[in-house]
Symmetry: C2
Subunit: 669 residues, 2 copies
Amino acid sequence: MTQTNPAPTSGVRPASDARLLPLIQGPADLKKLPIDQLPELAEEIRHAICDQVSKTGGHLAPNLGVVELTIALHYVFDFGHDRLLFDVGHQCYPHKLLTGRLGLLSKLRQRDGMSGFPEPRESHYDLFSVGHAGTAISTAVGMARGDTLNNQGDRKVVSLIGDASIVNGVAMEGLNNAGTLKRQFLVVLNDNGMSIAKPQGAMAQYFDRVRVNHDYGAFKKRAHDVLKRIPGGSALEELYHRAGEMMKAMITTGHMFEQFGLLCVGPLDGHDLPTLIDILTELRDFDRPVLLHLKTVKGKGFDFSTGDPSKFHSPSPFTVEGCRVEMKKSGRSFTTAYADALIDVMKRDEKVYAVTAAMPDGTGLNKVMPMFPDRSLDTGICESHAMDMCAGLAKTGIKPFFAVYSTFVQRAMDQVFQEITLQGLAVRICLDRAGFVGDDGAVHHGFMDISIFAPLPNLVMLAVSDEPNLKAGLEFMRQYDAGASVVRYPRDNVADPALFAEVPPYELGKAVFIARSGKAGDPVNGNGDGKPDLAILALGTEVYEAHKAMADLEKQGYDIALYDARFAKPVDIELIRGLIERGIPVLTVEDHSVRGGFGAIALETCNDRGIPTDLLYRHGMPERWVYQASRKAQLGEVGLDAAGIARRIRAVLDERSVVPAGRPTVAAH
Amino acid sequence: MTQTNPAPTSGVRPASDARLLPLIQGPADLKKLPIDQLPELAEEIRHAICDQVSKTGGHLAPNLGVVELTIALHYVFDFGHDRLLFDVGHQCYPHKLLTGRLGLLSKLRQRDGMSGFPEPRESHYDLFSVGHAGTAISTAVGMARGDTLNNQGDRKVVSLIGDASIVNGVAMEGLNNAGTLKRQFLVVLNDNGMSIAKPQGAMAQYFDRVRVNHDYGAFKKRAHDVLKRIPGGSALEELYHRAGEMMKAMITTGHMFEQFGLLCVGPLDGHDLPTLIDILTELRDFDRPVLLHLKTVKGKGFDFSTGDPSKFHSPSPFTVEGCRVEMKKSGRSFTTAYADALIDVMKRDEKVYAVTAAMPDGTGLNKVMPMFPDRSLDTGICESHAMDMCAGLAKTGIKPFFAVYSTFVQRAMDQVFQEITLQGLAVRICLDRAGFVGDDGAVHHGFMDISIFAPLPNLVMLAVSDEPNLKAGLEFMRQYDAGASVVRYPRDNVADPALFAEVPPYELGKAVFIARSGKAGDPVNGNGDGKPDLAILALGTEVYEAHKAMADLEKQGYDIALYDARFAKPVDIELIRGLIERGIPVLTVEDHSVRGGFGAIALETCNDRGIPTDLLYRHGMPERWVYQASRKAQLGEVGLDAAGIARRIRAVLDERSVVPAGRPTVAAH
């Protein structure tokens, strides 16, 4: 499913040749071009995107598929006044290039550069900063109602959504409500058959069956037939009579979304610019909700099946994963390590079942699923359903492992409450991309998984620091039948080499001692000498950052002990008590919101048990948004890298007037 | 929309006459009855439910609508082995009566009595404890897959869902995935047109258009026609040939759920027992997913339009609200107070817009909507969509007030993250039924709204203690444009009289002084004498419980100060600092999970700022489930009533060796 170094088709020209695109400072410039020049502009946009994505990674296929559509939309509508809402948002690059942001493209998905998603901070043409699927129709319904209330009903509202997203529950709720609107409202369904992964579910088969009719002439001839077939008394009939000639010809009866109360038009070829402009012009002034079904070609203009990297101007190798291009990194990701660890678990335990919600590439399940076709499932973009399905599986004694991005599990938190923890079911939730996610930015950070699950009984939370711990953590979860278990790990590589090639088994709520600078040994559990200046209780991969920080502090003469917390819930309160009772300051470190996170659970647990907390310090993500940049830069920005941890520790020790043993104190002289 | 003292139709017999129902100890006893006796059993069940609900309140219409269906299901299937999953679950009373729980009925929705929802702790016939809509199809998909994996594919799987729930996003995701199953899987759609409120959305119109065909004979004649109309190559055609004669006759083509890959059968009359038994017998052995569409009559056997309370054996007056019966209480609910306060706000500010997701009765919007038809909306059961629609409204400058139960806002937490707080939009979220909900039990408590929203920037959280505060809180929210605002209030009456008829305006993050026992006055903000033994910082209606506790403690000689916290986020940290710096112990009190709640935010904020926390104590809901009982009993069970607060305070003061000033200390003599 992954290819290295694919190439654009030969027709794509080098970016430096771009003739029209540099002239487009905004949609007004686009409107000056004659229609027959638009295909050339489309090719320039396509090339600019291919070229940039090959350098920085990013979403390729979704953007190449909507180039003509985006041009046509901006050509027909006036989105300085009208409303354009993107679903998921990873198909917004052509839109950004048409709205004055060509200059930002070279810093795609980089700090202070162009976000890979719509971003109102960049441009007023972007309405919502989004990255989660299924939201555009609902927010568009709100804007449509709001504009009407504000006596600005002349502002047209358009939402653009892919075939994988439109079957998401939120989108279907939105469609159902959109059908009650009595005003212009256009939903453009971009049916490319691969929005993220192949959409899983019966509807995908429906989309596959529906074929484009490329021939407008043939449509026209059908008009009379369609009219005859519309059942009497249907709301459709009334709408039909308001439609323009072209629309009438293209109305589809029996379309699956017709019952949501939308007039359904198409499917049309989403790359045919003149037809798109004609039909959008008619739809623009239609006064009722319409769904325009377009068929587009996966990554149009880019040949995924062959490879010719020379044309790509890529400075470094990359891989194509689903609809994304990822720059080829050295090292082994947690995602890959998860896949291998899960395969091992599944080989040993035939009750284990693997689930993903449309992220087979992103969660490593693409490696697992072919090996266990009967014990794995991709549900499509429906985290709520997937979580409930896992609840049902667990109820029958199966052990579901649901691999899901931390940010997307927010879509299933009510299911984790009611259908899982209230029942006491042993569903295993594996949170990939927990913590900062890097270039995807604020819409995708996994910053609140601990806080949303913390109040739930019958649920424990792990975080793993490296591959040996990931394996041991999954083995713990395999055996843990007393309730739900959650493990978190980041979008990052596993440490190589790991601190320890073999790690002890996970024991519920038990941290493990990692290292000690200054004097050797664990000061609490018996074998340590003396009293360290401070103990770090680090969660997940922050163990490694803390370990590096410790090395620095050691050079400065500080005596620091480091523990891998392993569990965010329950925390190892006896360890914390032992440290605090010995007068050792404790710093919790986590790649999670400091509010409600692991450190907060430690603090609360101390408070519950009357353990003094003036020696307890918490270090985590602050309460503000952190935008796209590398994950390393994001960790650095908030002080969660080694340098930041060392700074924080020195600040704590300075505040407590601790002087490193290796240096003379001022007072001593 | 609310009627007082309606009556059963005259045909319903008194419960004491029940002849068949007492014989049914379980489904095996049911199966012994001949079919022609089942209508009599149905009447007895109907009467038992009417009679009980008139005494304790509960869901009436949903249960009366499924009496025949539930009998038929248990008559045909063997749910000791097969799987029956209820959606929402408020239609499970007939099922409970047929599975050996007649004896529990008299304690419906009471402590240690019969839960108003399916409850596995009561019976192995109940698979999931549920109360939120849309989950049954998805959990059923999981059980179907699990049973098959366990080589128990002979266990039939049936889910029962209403027309209002099936358009919920989770249910539609489930349907889409169910369509991919290659085994028996039956979804029974109970289309009664009033599952909770009138379902809002275009699909509801579809359901209204579809009429029952009562005539099985006519169905048979249609069989050949249907076969001809099935399009070639469709998956339907294959399924058709596997179907039995009756199913063939009743297959509906062009049904809105057909595109989800389910064979759609019906609509049939859901009260026609012999036909139900025939068709279910055929469907039981069909090896592919089927949706059986039944039309049922709202509250069958109960005449909602006339009133004759004498036949109801009701010891006290009641009202019918939507599909529920509520015992008529003296006093004024927060829900009613909210409606009036919101009406006042809407009269003064034309930008304010009122939203509910299918709970017009439960949130008071039934009073608001007729007054402001253009500025209010019921979206149906789709909290995710409703929240996103509010985001869209806010983006246009409208001020949406979304009234939603705290427990249901869990369905929209991802929307609050991405579409609202990440955008910095000023959506107003009004959480009715925050805290313990009483007789609805564990599925409906609002116990984690603070913890799930706490990590989000651009969001503030209020809780109001009484009606004057509710008014002042809504006025604060109306004016608060800097981001999202959330207010919580319980399923309870407002205090009458309130402590103060007029309250000062809400000021962001500021608590207010309420009272002081012992010496008068606020010890922090200037006008108080001496040092109280302890200060209570109470959130929401716990102010009143704390006030009562204070009165008790005063009699025992303790000097207690009481503050209304008003804000859970941000907390009034300067007040807390002032108290702690004066050496005054502080107890936070909240009707919310102590984990991650208001007290936790106070604790974390102190820890962030280096304020010592050994004087800070937190009192809230413990980390365990609390089942159905009165709200008062639930508060008492966890120590959140006046007595419990007083106990906790004495424990704190004893631990700190504080002796009341009014009593001589042992040491002093």
